[in-house]
Structure formats: structure tokens, C-alpha cells
Amino acid sequence: MAVVIPVTVIIGIGTALYLELYIKRGSIQSIIQTNIANLAGVPSIVYGILGLTVFVRAMDFGNIVLAGGLTLSLLILPIVIVAAQEAVRSVPQHLSEASYGMGATKWQTIRRIILPAALPGILTGSILALSRAIGETAPLTVIGIPALLMAHPGGIFDKFTALPMQIYYWTLDSSLVDEYANLAAATIIVLLLLLFILNSVAVLIRNKFQQRL
């Protein structure tokens, strides 16, 4: 998560602003737009293979947190971009007009008016995308994360595993070691709670700011 959040939020917002406010409407813009929409629908296993090739092999990271994080970032980036675009587009035109009308530059208008107004939407979209990343296992299996009983990873260059993976192997081996069944059950609860909290936060943010505009 330490990798996924900054990577997706920064690249996601940047791309959305570029697509909404800088690039000219036209063929290039619509090609990029279509591709992003398509990427959002690509099965996650494909991202896993891409991550394996690019991050683990080509860049030689090995199967560490950084590689996994970047892979998951790729996976949810299209979703974050689309959500952020939606949010930027829904900022009322008359607000940016007022800002330009007082001699503000484009960047000042974006930073002081558009981004603050779009932020709730961007946050909601990002959190929902993030909760998808937490539940993902397939792409991480592909980049070859070790399955069972890892020491807690201390930094982004350590090896790691995913909660769903832990659950799967603990359940599988519960016939060998009795405690594993309990461990698996506990982990499931942790995972569900995490997802529940993330999604509630997203809904709360949305409700809190919806009344404002």
C-alpha cells in the first residue's frame, strides 16, 4: 500500500488533469481515452504477467514489495484516472471562469479551485480502487510471491505476501496444523474489516461533500 497509494494518486490525478484540461479534443485524445477505458477491463492476471516481465525480470527487482506494489498500481491506475477525470469534469465551469476572470493563470485555477473542488470525488474513486487492489491475488501469484508464513515485511524492498494468499494456504494446510484453520478465519475477518472500512470511508467522504456543491 505504501507503494500503491502514492504512485496511483499522483499519476492518476496528473493524467486526469492532462486529459481534461490540457490536451486538445481530437483523435489523439479519444484514442487515449478509449485505451484507458479498455485497460480498466483487462483481467488482472494480464497485469501480473506484465509486472513479472517489467518489474521482476527486466528491472530485476525480484519479487519484493516494490514490484508487487507497482504491479497493483498498474492494475488500478485506469480506474483511478477515470474517477479523477469524472471528478475534474464535474467541477462547475462558472467557478473556473470566475478564477480566470480575475487574472488567475491556468495552474493557479487548477490548484486553488479545480483540485479542491474535485478532491472528494478523486478520493472516493481512489479508495474504491484501492480496496480492489487489496483483494487482488492473481497478479501477485504470477510475479511469484512466496505463499506462507512470511516474516512481516519491514520495507519496500522485502519479500511479502498478500492476505488472500495467506488465507488460501492456511486453509489448504489446516489438515496438517490445527491452528491454521483459526489463523485463516482470523485473516479473513481482518481482510473483510479492512475492505469494509475503506468502502465506508469512501461513502462517507462522498456524502459529506455532495451537499456542498
Binding site: 467557478l95 480566470y100 476572470g101 480575475m102 487574472g103 488567475a104 493563470t105 486553488r112 479551485i113 456542498r212
Partner: protein
């Protein structure tokens, strides 16, 4: 078609009211197209300093388009093309080298619908000075108070400066927007139907405000309300289908229009 084109002031074919007045804006054969729509046709108008110039005309005749070219806001529409020239204090503003940010700090705009930012009343007024680099809290406080006083809204909001501007009534929001524009200390105020969304009492307040402001500012105001134009303006331009049909002193234009179409319009026979 004889009187359609108003002669430029230099070619003294008509009485130039108040020749002693300085001219802030002077347009020279200004044309504007939205794609294929020819929205402004050969506009020659001069706008006097420290006077109120009213723009009247039926819907779609190009009033908003005209005042938005004066601060080049019209360029926000990608399909816009212009020809001709606009001089602001003798300088051509349509040239690409003229910085629009500079122009828009000199020529402030108030929009038809009140459009405060979703921020506090204080932050709304302080926005302009802040983007132009004023950081000093004391200076900002002073500008905010002065602007709110000048817009005759200080007494109504002085105890709630930290509250969100959306809690104000429509009329108060519009005066707040005027205060916000005054805070950048412009020379010219462009107002596009500033009272069309307001109730009669708020309208009256804004009209009084305009009367007061013209001591310090040159004002161009678009209005659908003929009585309003007659009440508050010194000069009036009547637009029709993108052309200026008549441009004259308000009194003259309303009492003794020289063009039949102007007469028809002000007597309510069309539009």
C-alpha cells in the same frame, strides 16, 4: 441599412458625447465568429472612462460575446476567431503578446449568475489579491474590508467572514462577487446581466452600487431591463443580430432614437 454602422468617434459623423472624457476601450471593426456563426459584425464602439455604458438588445444578439471579448474571456471557447482591433488605453489587446492575466486584473468581470467559490466569505474576496502575490495578512484584511465596504455588503457579513459564502442570499452573493472583483483593483468593471437572477430589492442595491462605483471605475453593463439601462447608464448601445444598431447618450437613445429598429425595441414592439 443607412444607419446600421456607427462611425468611429474620430470621423465625427455623430455627436460624441462628452468629448472631454477619456476613452478606455475602443473597438475598430471588431468581428467574431464561433466556428461558422458570425456573432459580432463590424463593431465600432468607444467606452468612456468613469461612465456607465449599457449594452441592450434581444437574446442572442451578441451582448455577452461582446463584453467577454473586452477581457478576452471569449477565448475559452476553442472555436472562436476574431478580426479587427480592440484598444484598451491605446494598446491593442487582441495581440497574442498581450498577457490575458494582466488584462483581466485591469478589467474585472461580474457574471450573470452569482458564482462565489465554495470557500469562506473572506477567502472569496482575498482570492484575487492572493493569486497576485499578496501574502501579508494585515494587507489582505484591509483589502477584504475595503472591498466589502465598497460593495455595500460589509455590514451584512462582517460578523461571519469565516462562514461559507454559499450561506448568503443570492443578492448578497452577487454583491460578494462584485467585492471579489473590486479586490483586484481593476479600472473597468464588466457586468453581464448582474441583476437578472436577483429580486427587486437586491437589484436596487446593485443599481445603487453601480452608480456609486462609476466615480472610480468605468463600467460596461449588459442588461435585458430597459428601465435599468435608462436609470443607470450614461451611454447605451443597442445590439441586434451581432451588429450595433445605435450607440448614443442614454437620454438621447431612449427619448429620440434615430433608428426605427431601436425605437421598435425600446417601445417593446419586438424582442
Amino acid at each position: 441599412m443607412s444607419l446600421t454602422m456607427i462611425k468611429k468617434p474620430e470621423t465625427s459623423n455623430r455627436t460624441i458625447p462628452n468629448t472631454s472624457k477619456n476613452i478606455v476601450f475602443d473597438t475598430d471593426d471588431l468581428n467574431l465568429w464561433y466556428g461558422d456563426t458570425h456573432a459580432l459584425k463590424n463593431i465600432n464602439l468607444s467606452i468612456n472612462e468613469k461612465e456607465v455604458t449599457a449594452i441592450i438588445g434581444p437574446s442572442g444578439c451578441g451582448k455577452s460575446t461582446f463584453i467577454k471579448t473586452l477581457n478576452r474571456m471569449v477565448e475559452m471557447v476553442p472555436s472562436v476567431r476574431t478580426s479587427g482591433d480592440i484598444k484598451y488605453n491605446e494598446k491593442s489587446i487582441l495581440e497574442k503578446s498581450f498577457r490575458v492575466e494582466e488584462l483581466r486584473t485591469r478589467v474585472g468581470m461580474v457574471f450573470q449568475k452569482p458564482n462565489p467559490f465554495p470557500k469562506s466569505i473572506y477567502e472569496n474576496v482575498a482570492y484575487g489579491p492572493k493569486i497576485h502575490g499578496i501574502r501579508n495578512k494585515k494587507v489582505l484584511d484591509e483589502i477584504v474590508e475595503k472591498s466589502l465596504r465598497d460593495a455595500f455588503i460589509w455590514d451584512e457579513v462582517k460578523d461571519r467572514l469565516k462562514e461559507n459564502a454559499y450561506g448568503l442570499s443570492g443578492g448578497q452573493q452577487q454583491r460578494l462577487c462584485i467585492a471579489r472583483t473590486l479586490a483586484i483593483e481593476p479600472d473597468v468593471l464588466l457586468m453581464d446581466e448582474p441583476t437578472s437572477a436577483l429580486d427587486p430589492i437586491s437589484t436596487l442595491k446593485v443599481e445603487e452600487l453601480v452608480q456609486k462605483l462609476k466615480e472610480d471605475y468605468s463600467i460596461v453593463i449588459v442588461t435585458h431591463n430597459m428601465q435599468q439601462a435608462a436609470r443607470i447608464s450614461d451611454q447605451t448601445a443597442f445590439f441586434l443580430n451581432g451588429e450595433v444598431v445605435e450607440f448614443d447618450e442614454t437620454e438621447k437613445l431612449f427619448s429620440n432614437p434615430s433608428d426605427q429598429r431601436t425605437e421598435d425595441y425600446i417601445t417593446g414592439r419586438f424582442g
